[in-house]
C-alpha cells in the first residue's frame, strides 16, 4: 500500500509539472476553495445560520460581502456552502466512480451475457436525458444531501463504467493476469490486487470529472428549488436571491447574487479545466508509450 502511494505521489508531481499555465491556475483555485471549506469556522466571524446584522447590508467591514434578506453574513454562507459542494462532489465521485469502475471491470473481465446486459444498461443510462430524470428523482427522493448524492450517483456511474470496461478488456489479455487466474485467483482477488491498482489513474481521472459534474448538477437542482433547503449550498443561495421579488431593480444583486455566482463558477470551471488537463497529459502518455 505505501509503495502504491509513493508511486502515485511521484506521478502526480510530474503531472503538475506538465500542466499548462491555465491548468496550474485551476489547481491553485481548487485548493484555495478546499481550504476555505475546511477552515470555514476559522476564517468567518459571523454565524452562517443566524442573522448577524441588518438585512441586505452592502459589502462593508465587518460584513465583507454584505448580508442577505435575513441579515445572514454572505461570506459565512459562502464558506460553509463550499463544504456542501465539496461533500456532494466527493461523495458522488467516490460512490459513482468506484461503483461504476467495479461494474466496468466485472463486465469487461467476465464478458459474455453479463457484459452484454451491463453494456445495454449503460447505453440506456447514457441515452436518458439527465436533468429531467434527475429533477423527477430528486423530487421523489426528497432533497436531503444524502439523497442528492444517491440520485447523482445513480445517473453518473455509466460514464466511468464504459471507460473502465474497455480498459479492462485490454488489461485482461496481459500474461500476468491470465497467469494469476490460472493459479486460481478469484474475481474479487483479481479486482482488488490487479485491476484497481493498474487502472487507478484512469479511475482517478474519471472521478475528478464526475466531481465537477456532480457539483454542477447539485447547483442546478438547488437552483431549481430541489436542493436540501437546510444545506445552504451555493445553488440555494442563488435560488433565494433570484426568487427575491424585484432583485434586479435593486442594488442587492451586486453582492447577494454576485458572490455566490463567482465562487460557484470558479469551483466548477477550475475542476473542469483540471480534469481536462489531466486527461490530456495521461492521453499523450499512452500515445508516447
Amino acid at each position: 500500500m505505501s509503495n502504491f502511494i509513493i508511486k502515485y505521489k511521484k506521478k502526480s508531481v510530474t503531472i503538475l509539472n506538465e500542466m499548462s499555465a491555465v491548468g496550474k491556475l485551476a489547481v491553485i483555485i481548487f485548493f484555495v476553495l478546499i481550504l476555505m471549506a475546511l477552515f470555514a469556522p476559522f476564517i468567518t466571524w459571523f454565524s452562517h445560520v443566524n442573522s448577524s446584522g441588518t438585512a441586505l447590508l452592502p459589502p462593508e467591514y465587518p460584513h465583507i460581502m454584505g448580508t442577505n434578506d435575513l441579515g445572514v453574513d454572505i461570506w459565512s454562507l459562502i464558506c460553509y456552502g463550499a463544504r456542501i459542494s465539496i461533500i456532494i462532489g466527493l461523495g458522488t465521485s467516490l460512490l459513482a466512480g468506484l461503483g461504476g469502475s467495479i461494474i466496468g471491470i466485472i463486465a469487461g473481465y467476465k464478458g459474455g451475457i453479463v457484459e452484454r446486459i451491463v453494456m445495454r444498461f449503460i447505453d440506456i443510462m447514457i441515452a436518458l436525458p439527465r436533468l429531467p430524470v434527475m429533477i423527477v428523482l430528486a423530487a421523489f427522493f426528497g432533497p436531503s444531501i444524502f439523497n442528492i448524492i444517491l440520485v447523482l450517483s445513480l445517473f453518473s456511474w455509466a460514464g466511468p463504467a464504459r471507460i473502465i470496461r474497455s480498459a479492462t478488456l485490454s488489461l485482461k489479455e496481459q500474461d500476468y493476469i491470465k497467469m494469476a487466474s490460472h493459479y486460481g485467483a478469484g474475481t474479487i482477488y483479481l479486482i482488488k490486487k490487479h485491476f484497481i491498482p493498474e487502472l487507478f489513474p484512469l479511475i482517478a481521472v474519471s472521478m475528478i470529472r464526475l466531481m465537477g459534474r456532480a457539483i454542477v448538477a447539485e447547483a442546478s437542482l438547488a437552483f431549481l428549488g430541489l436542493g436540501d433547503p437546510t444545506s445552504g449550498s451555493w445553488g440555494l443561495i442563488i435560488n433565494h436571491a433570484i426568487s427575491f421579488q424585484g432583485i434586479y431593480f435593486t442594488p442587492f444583486w451586486k453582492w447577494w447574487l454576485l458572490y455566490p455566482w463567482i465562487f460557484l463558477t470558479l469551483l466548477v470551471t477550475s475542476l473542469a479545466l483540471l480534469s481536462r488537463e489531466i486527461e490530456k497529459i495521461s492521453d499523450t502518455r499512452i500515445i508516447n508509450k
Partner: protein, 324 residues
Amino acid sequence: MKLKKKEKIFEYIFTLFIIITLNFALPRMMPGDPFLHNTGGEGEVFTTHTVEQIQYYREYYGLDKPLYIQYGTYLKELAKGDLGYSYYYKTDVLSIIYKRFPWTILLVFSALGFSIIFGTILGSISAWYRNSWQDQILYILLIIISEIPAFLIGIFLLVVLAAALNFFPLAGSISHFRDYSSNFEKIIDIAQHAFLPVMTLTLARIGGIYLLVRNSLSTVLNKDYVRTAKAKGLKEVRIKYIYALGNALLPLLTRVSLQLGAMIGGAILAESVFAYPGLGLLMRNAVSVRDYPLIQGIFLILALMVMIANLTADLLYKKIDPRV
C-alpha cells in the same frame, strides 16, 4: 449485422419501457400528496377539503386502486395519447404541453443552429491557424465558456445585459397587453425576448462543436488531397469549406443530435432563469406544486424528444456513411 440491428431496436424499445415505467412509478412514490398541498403546508390545518371530499377525489382520479391496475390504465390512456389531467391547472396535460412546447422548440433549435454555425466558423479558424496565438486564445476562451454551466451563464447575461444595461427584457417570451402594428413588429418582440435564453444555450453548447470541428478539420487539412488542392492553386475558402469541411461534417452531425439531451437539460435551466414560458419552466412549477400528471407528461415528452433525436442520428449516420 442482422443481430446488431435487432439489438438496437430492442434497446430503443427497452429505453422507452424504462422511461414509461419510471414515469409511472416515481411520482407516485414522491413524498407529499396533492391533497396535502391543497390544504396548506405541514402543521397548519385549514381544511378546504373534508375527508369525504378527499375520498371522492381519490376515487375520481383512480388513486385508491392497486398499483398494477393504475399502471394498466396508465398504459392504455397513454396509447390513446391521453397524458392525464393536471391537478393544478385543471385542464388536460397534453393541451398545456401543447401550448408551451413551441417556445421550448424555438429555444432549442435556434440555439442548436447558432451553436453549429458559430462553432463551425470558430473551429475552422482555429484549425486553419492551428497552434498560432489566435488558435490558443480561441481554444482557452471556448473551453472555459463551455465548462460554465448554462444557468450561471444565463444569470450573468440576465444581470449584465437585461438588468444593468436594459438592452433586453427581463422575463417572458412576448410583451403582454401590447398591440402590434404589424407582424414584423411582433416577430421583433419575440426575437428580443428569445435572444438571451438562446444566447445562453448557444454559449453553453458551442465549445463541444468548436472542439469537434477543430480536431476533425485539422486532421483532414493534413491529408494529401488537401495538399493537392493547395498545389493546384484553389482558393483558400473553397478548400476550407467545401473540401475539408465536407469530410469533417459526419462526426459533427451525430454529435449534434446526441447533444440534444444535454441541450434540453440546459433549456430547462435557461427557461427558469429567464422565466421563459416553455416546458422547462412548466416542469419546475409542476414539481413545486406536486402536479403528478403534468410532471409525468413533460418528462415523457422531453424523453421522447431525446430518443427521436438519437434515432435520427443513428439513421442519418447509416445514410451518410455507407460503411456502417
